[in-house]
């Protein structure tokens, strides 16, 4: 990025700097402010823009940070109480929409959703729990599809394909009834490294490797330790 043009922008009223073409999330983080993300993470291209937990204000309007590139003169607000509460509200919506019983989940400690809940200091959701019915699909050879934990981020449906480039995961239905599906024929033929890739692509515990889990001591998992003091909570 060093050869890209420098751009100046304002971040929460302070001057900030990055380079032309840098994703807004990264540009903000380069300047010391954390932006939470669930459907996006560095390297994800094209951006999915589904979860909306990265919502910031650009030139006075709310928008998903992950879907934009930084431009000269942008006026960005990110670390305000109002926006932090907005993002927390969106996160809480995900928690009430699915059924997330973290203590019994194989992904506990490594789950991006759970990690974010801790980071936001979320003790309970402001919205009523839905207790929606989700079918669990255990028919896969290697993979378990635990729809109770799906946040409909589309990582698996849009970004994952098997060794021959075929789509393995898809959605059916629409709106609140959207459900993720797994192509069982293709899954059965997938080598274990591809299955592992699918499971780790999923930010939550919705795609799980069968016969594994609960194998690492608490304290050593990805989100067991609080984030660095240096970066502020989103």
């Amino acid at each position: 990025m060093s050869d890209a043009k420098k751009v100046k922008f304002s971040l929460d009223g302070k001057e900030a700097e990055s380079h032309q073409g840098v994703n807004l999330v990264q540009a903000i983080e380069e300047n010391g402010t954390h932006v939470p993300t669930l459907c996006w993470s560095p390297g994800i291209e094209p951006c999915l823009g589904t979860c909306r937990v990265c919502t910031v204000k650009v030139n006075g309007r709310e928008t998903a940070a992950c879907a934009l590139k930084i431009e000269e003169g942008m006026k960005i607000e990110c670390d305000t109480d109002d926006l932090k509460d907005l993002r927390k509200g969106i996160l809480e919506l995900l928690f009430v929409e699915g059924n997330h019983f973290c203590p019994g989940c194989e992904k506990s400690g490594d789950c991006e959703l759970q990690g974010m809940g801790y980071r936001f200091g979320m003790t309970h959701p402001r919205f009523p729990y839905r207790f929606s019915h989700y079918e669990l699909d255990y028919r896969g050879v290697h993979l378990l599809l635990e729809r109770n934990r799906c946040i409909h981020c589309k990582r698996c449906t849009e970004l994952f394909s098997d060794d021959q480039g075929r789509k393995v995961f898809s959605f059916v239905g629409k709106g609140k009834d959207t459900r993720v599906e797994m192509n069982l024929d293709l899954e059965a033929k997938m080598p274990i490294h591809k299955c592992r890739e699918a499971a780790s692509l999923c930010p939550t515990g919705a795609i799980i490797l069968k016969g594994q889990g609960f194998d690492r001591p608490v304290g050593t998992r990805r989100f067991d330790n609080p984030p660095d003091k240096g970066s502020k909570n989103g």
Binding site: C47, G49, T50, C51, R52, V53, T55, E62, A64, A67, L68, L86, G89, I90, L93, L94, V96, E97, R126, F127, P128, R130, I151, H152, K154, T157, R166, K167, S170, F171, V172, G173, K174, G175, K176, D177, T178, E181, N183
Partner: protein, 590 residues
Amino acid sequence: MDRATELAGIVQKFKSDRTRLIDILWAAQEREGFVSHFDLEELGRLLKLSVPALREVMSFYHFFRDQPSGRFQIYLDTSMIAEMNGLSEIRDEFERQLGVKVGQTSPDGQFGLFETSCIGMSDQAPAVLINLVPFTQLNRQKVNLIVHRLRQGVELKDLVHEFGLGDAQNANSSVHSMVRNNLKKPGSFMLASVVPGAGLKKSLAHSADEVIDTVTASGLRGRGGAGFPTGKKWAACRSFQAPKRYVVCNADEGEPGTFKDRLLLTEYPALVIEGMAIAAHALGAREGIIYLRAEYKYLEAHLQQEIERFRKHLSFEFDLRIQLGAGAYVCGEESALLESMEGKRGEPRLRPPFPVEVGYLGMPTVVNNVETFALVTQIFNQGVGTFRNFGTPRSPGVRLLSVSGDVAHPGIYEIPWGIKIGDVLSMVGAQNPLMIQVGGPSGIAINANDVNREISYEDLPTGGSFMVFSKDRDLFAILSNFMTFFVNESCGNCTPCRAGNVALRELLRRFIGGHARSEDLGHIDSWASIVKRGSRCGLGGSSPNVLTTVKAAFPDLFVNAIKPGADSLFFDFNEKAATADYDRTIREMK
């Protein structure tokens, strides 16, 4: 012909082009009324798509079915206006006559009974679609007759005849429908009679840039709801270099209570087609597409005929085709519409880039509403000055209003922007009005006492829907219907709208059920704000308005719904109420 050969023919007709998937699925569904697993496997093989990938698209749309769903597929319009005009009776009558519940298909495979959102017949509600043929102004007797006749083997076409054809072009063989235009006030501008092709001819005497300048000078703003300046949109599209540009007409008209595009497409299609041709000239586009909602399929043949008829006025290459939708309100959102036209789920795109830069098949595309194109034609016919004689400085010109609800004369009215609410109410014969929903559920609710407010971008913008509710109506029932509409029509792509509208509906149900606490008053606004500000497109961006604007217009409504003592801990568990229907439930289970 065996089925595989038939399907191969369908795919071939669309040149194995996956972006025509919606058309392919419609064609595949035609024979049996559903697309079977066998069909999907065949189509998948031919199109090099997996069955799940096909299901992903197909399951997005109301009208595609993957199970046997009846030779006659009946869709009840569940809009609020239908509810007020006897929806529950006709639903009940259909269920009794057919022996099925909504969502089911009769065992003999003859009838399927389903529900769908507003079908654009709020001026003649309650209405249903039977195999996409509208039957309007129904009551128990008529439902009885419909079922009886269809059982006798009478064809839908003949049944429509028996019920009586509608007025004007509705009675034309190319439409052959019982729909009535209900044009109550034609006005003097938009529907003024003109020589077909004259506006286009005038525009062709000018360069593309001059045409765009004229549209800009007219101050015309898009009539689809957002009110974006049309000239600015065209200029932006033209500024992007590309091998092709497209002109798209948005005829999805899905906002509940809107039916004015129905009139334009029935009686004045040439105005719309001509406006598209003027746009094509301005943009250097050679192809145009009309995205017609499936609910208006009965107008497809008519529109096709009008397209052919208009060709003689075209002195340049301009191919126009109709793309049929398949039932999804969100497809009216312009980027979702483009996705749908490309044979995908109708989920809105991330913007930027906007369609004027990256639109249909990646090319710069202008999407305008039906009425916007009709007005372009009239602006070239009658001149910018005449157009600007109407309206206000920021809202120049006239527009069509679709009026429904508790009024003596539901129907379509041409109004100048800036007209006072009080004047509209007396013009349409409002009956004891309490609330007006301006711009449909996505719009703004106002108290009918606010007679001095005006319809304009300065005050109350509207995409054309104007629903009047009298003092006899239960505002909570209206809110409930609207919130359910949004829950059903959210595409599900983004969290705030997909999950947030459900949460807002739950909140509303607290008030309706008497479980609300005083802090829930604040939740209405704070939860609404999360959905509004966090959502990806205008659906979630405006759906909470129904709650917040009704609350602002009728603050007592919510306050009075909070029961005294509701703030104590276990207030909402009432043992008697909870067990009241115990005996009945046990009886029914036996």
